[in-house]
């Protein structure tokens, strides 16, 4: 089996348009959540979100590209550009033939569906643009990355709601570890912050109207975000040979299915995924210093997740740190695990633990060290990234300092 390392990272989200900007915001505990701005927002009962501002798609992409790229693809390409530039990899020959791109998204081109349904239903038009389908399809982002960077190996999109990115990155990890691919571009993207996207979530009655306060006793729901996180996962020997800068090592993963309820999380399913990731990595539980929580800020998730951590880690649960950066960038749904992996990398590489901001009142059902409100310096050897999706589909990644 090959060792797998991360040699490039890129992002765009409500906290910043790059990895350095995002990590700086996380260190400062800055909140990227604010009033939503888009057409018909006044008809929503939920009017806040972690929206990407000042993206300037028109300046980044030409007219022809704009007709093909939904916002979730635009985010992906912007983040991929940063990740690939950092990795310094050029794909040609054998490397190109065997390397691919596996990305996660829950909704794909939601904005394109929304715009075009509005056009035919509300405006009564009977004709849509010829590229509606290639623009909205869930694999559009992965395909455009493959074309942009000449990635001709295994490429596809994974859709498991809020765990999409983690499932995608777990698969990319597995492909590099097995020797199937020397490098994989992976991560995920989401862009649901439009009228139809938020209206759908509103129906479930789990969204907060004012803030995302994970683990705080007065939390009242999740807040949606948008953006992308893209990484280059590479065979360690390959990375070493070419003298690449290594950010962290991916050491294990596990996936589990609750097989129980379509929306309510299960402690057992989450605990099995965390314990499974450690078993896969061959790492003892007490070496884990930090967990980037799924931490949505809903009543159900946060107490279930804390109970699962207690189950999986035993007494060590009281010694590790666990924070939810969703309090700052919102819940990026299918892209969330990718942006949150950055907090794990920061913990391992920089020794800085991103805080859970908005924390106001301790909750006895979430009695762990949630790194409230302020970032903390700490040396961390191993970090986990949790994602527990609707449908009971869980995926946990384990990263180690290198």
């Amino acid at each position: 089996m090959k060792r797998v390392v991360i040699t490039g990272a890129g992002t765009i989200n409500a906290l910043g348009h790059s990895v350095p900007e995002t990590l700086e915001a996380m260190r400062e505990g800055r909140c990227g959540i604010g009033p939503l701005e888009f057409r018909d927002v006044e008809r929503l009962s939920i009017q806040i979100g972690g929206q990407v501002r000042g993206f300037g798609a028109e300046g980044r992409f030409n007219r022809q590209q704009m007709t093909l790229y939904d916002r979730f693809t635009q985010f992906t390409l912007a983040a991929a550009k940063e990740a690939l530039a950092q990795a310094g990899l050029e794909f040609s020959g054998e490397l190109s033939a065997r390397s691919g791109v596996v990305l996660g998204t829950a909704g794909g081109g939601v904005g394109t569906w929304d715009d075009n349904y509005r056009s035919v239903y509300e405006d009564g038009k009977n004709r849509v643009h010829p590229f509606v389908v290639p623009k909205l399809m869930n694999n559009a982002a992965a395909s455009h990355v493959s074309m942009e960077y000449n990635l001709k190996g295994p490429s596809f999109t994974v859709s498991t709601a809020c765990a999409s990115s983690n499932h995608a990155m777990a698969l990319a990890f597995q492909m590099v570890r097995s020797g199937m691919a020397p490098a994989m571009v992976t991560g995920g993207s989401e862009s649901m912050l439009c009228f139809g996207g938020v209206k759908a979530w509103e129906g479930l009655r789990v969204m907060s109207r004012d803030a995302c306060r994970p683990f705080s006793a007065n939390r009242n729901g999740m807040v949606q975000g948008e953006g992308a996180g893209i990484f280059v996962f590479e065979d360690y020997d390959h990375a070493r040979r070419r003298g690449a800068d290594i950010m962290a090592e991916v050491v294990g993963f596990a996936m589990s299915s609750d097989a129980a309820d379509i929306v309510m999380p299960s402690k057992q399913g989450a605990a099995r995924a965390m314990a499974g990731a450690l078993a896969d990595a061959g790492i003892a539980a007490d070496r884990v210093g930090y967990i980037n929580a799924h931490g949505t800020g809903t009543t159900a998730n946060d107490k279930t997740e804390c109970a699962a951590v207690a189950d999986a880690f035993g007494p060590h649960a009281d010694r590790l740190m666990i924070s939810s950066t969703k309090s700052m960038h919102g819940h990026l749904i299918g892209g969330t695990g990718a942006v949150e992996l950055l907090a794990c990398i920061m913990a391992l590489r920089d020794g800085v633990i991103a805080p859970t901001i908005g924390y106001q009142e301790p909750d006895p059902e979430c009695a762990l060290d949630v790194v409230p409100n302020e970032a903390r310096e700490a040396a961390v050897e191993v970090a986990l990234s949790n994602a527990f999706a609707f449908g009971g589909l869980n995926a946990v990644l384990a990263l180690a300092r290198i």
Binding site: L204, R205, R209, R219, N220, T299, A300
Partner: protein
């Protein structure tokens, strides 16, 4: 149909019971309605009366809207129908 009868009919349908089995003092839990069923019932009531119910599934007991019993729900709906008419 009165507001009371309509609300009971909606709750009975959600609980797969006869309306006569839904008494004012029953709680939704006693009727076997779980959190998803509750969200669905709230939606059905909003649609039936064309009102907006201030309900957040994260804090079902703490909002302005009392869901502790069928009677409390009916009283809340009657108030909202008056206010939002």
């Amino acid at each position: 149909m009165s507001i009371r009868d309509k609300v009971i009919a909606i709750i009975a349908e959600q609980a797969v019971l006869e309306p006569s089995d839904v008494t004012p003092d029953s709680t939704l839990e006693e009727l076997g309605i779980n959190s998803l069923g509750l969200v669905e019932s709230i939606f059905a009531i909003e649609e039936a009366f064309d009102i907006t119910i201030p309900f957040n599934a994260n804090a079902p007991g703490t909002g302005d809207f009392d869901i502790s019993s069928v009677a409390a729900i009916i009283a809340g709906i009657e108030r909202l129908v008056r206010e939002q008419a």
